[in-house]
């Protein structure tokens, strides 16, 4: 009984916090414009001759991040191959 009361109180607290956050959420579609966003949108087509601005950011302006992503994938594949290789302990 005591645990159930505690559970209900916890649920109410969490729901109150989430509803309070939801009431103060940033309105959808109301963008906060930064100078960097405007620079990408205006100059991506002229500088990099690419239509997809998202791809131009991911693979060009922020290409170093994507190199890290590719390296993470490579490391994950290497570790899976090391984990599941057929060793001498095979039954």
């Amino acid at each position: 009984m005591k645990r159930q009361v505690l559970f209900v109180v916890a649920v109410l607290v969490v729901a109150g916090v989430f509803l309070g956050a939801l009431a103060r959420i940033h309105p959808f579609g109301d963008t906060t414009r930064a100078p960097m966003d405007d620079y990408y949108l205006e100059n991506a087509q002229r500088e990099r001759s690419v239509n997809n601005v998202v791809t131009s950011i991911v693979f060009d302006y922020r290409g170093f991040d994507t190199l890290g992503e590719a390296a993470v994938l490579f490391t994950a594949v290497c570790s899976v191959l090391a984990l599941f290789r057929e060793g001498s302990e095979k039954r």
Binding site: Q45, R46, E47, R48, S49, V50, N51, N52, V54, T55, S56, V58, F59, D60, G63, F64, T66, L67, E69, A70, A71, L73, F74, A76, V77, V80, L81, L83, F84, R85, E86, K90, R91
Partner: protein, 165 residues
């Protein structure tokens, strides 16, 4: 894991081709439409999962050679890093092919347009390199995990059974 029924295999025959073509489309058109190397590579790698489930491991592993996938993955990452280093005259990851004419060098018109496939410079090249890496990497993970399952199969005296073996 044994092959599934003839219904599943027939549907797999149809959808495996669709997955391969759609994934290649997403990779190649990464600089025009939404998507790119990572997304299209994941779509193509789904084909390996579909074949493994529908046809069973014994048949798929008999004609898949993991060495080719390993080479493809290393090639993809090396092409990506090389394309980044080739622009080091200006900065690291500088797009030295864009707008120069030649390979991936067409100039796109400003404003909304329908897109040119031979544009975007190293972005296209990097999309294809990353796509190659993701396809081979995820397929290798699937194949090796499947092999790892077979190591533990039948240890407790029970084995999974499929239809019409």
């Amino acid at each position: 894991m044994n092959p599934l029924s003839v219904v599943v295999r027939t549907i797999c025959d149809i959808f495996a081709w669709f997955l391969g073509i759609f994934g290649a489309y997403v990779i190649i058109h990464g600089h025009i439409s939404p998507g790119g190397g990572f997304q299209g590579g994941a779509v193509v790698a789904t084909m390996a999962a579909l074949l493994l489930v529908a046809y069973g491991g014994k048949k798929v592993l008999s004609f898949v050679r993991p060495g080719i996938y390993t080479g493809m993955e290393a090639t993809g990452l090396l092409v990506f890093i090389t394309a980044g280093f080739l622009g080091i005259g200006t900065t690291f990851f500088y797009n030295f092919l864009a707008g120069q004419g030649g390979l991936f060098g067409s100039v796109v018109p400003l404003g909304p347009n329908s897109g040119i496939l031979n544009s975007a410079g190293t972005i296209s090249l990097m999309n294809m390199a990353v796509g190659l890496e993701v396809v081979s990497g995820l397929s290798l993970i699937l194949i090796y995990m499947f092999k790892g399952i077979r190591l533990f199969e039948g240890r407790e005296g029970r084995s999974e059974r499929g239809h019409d073996r």
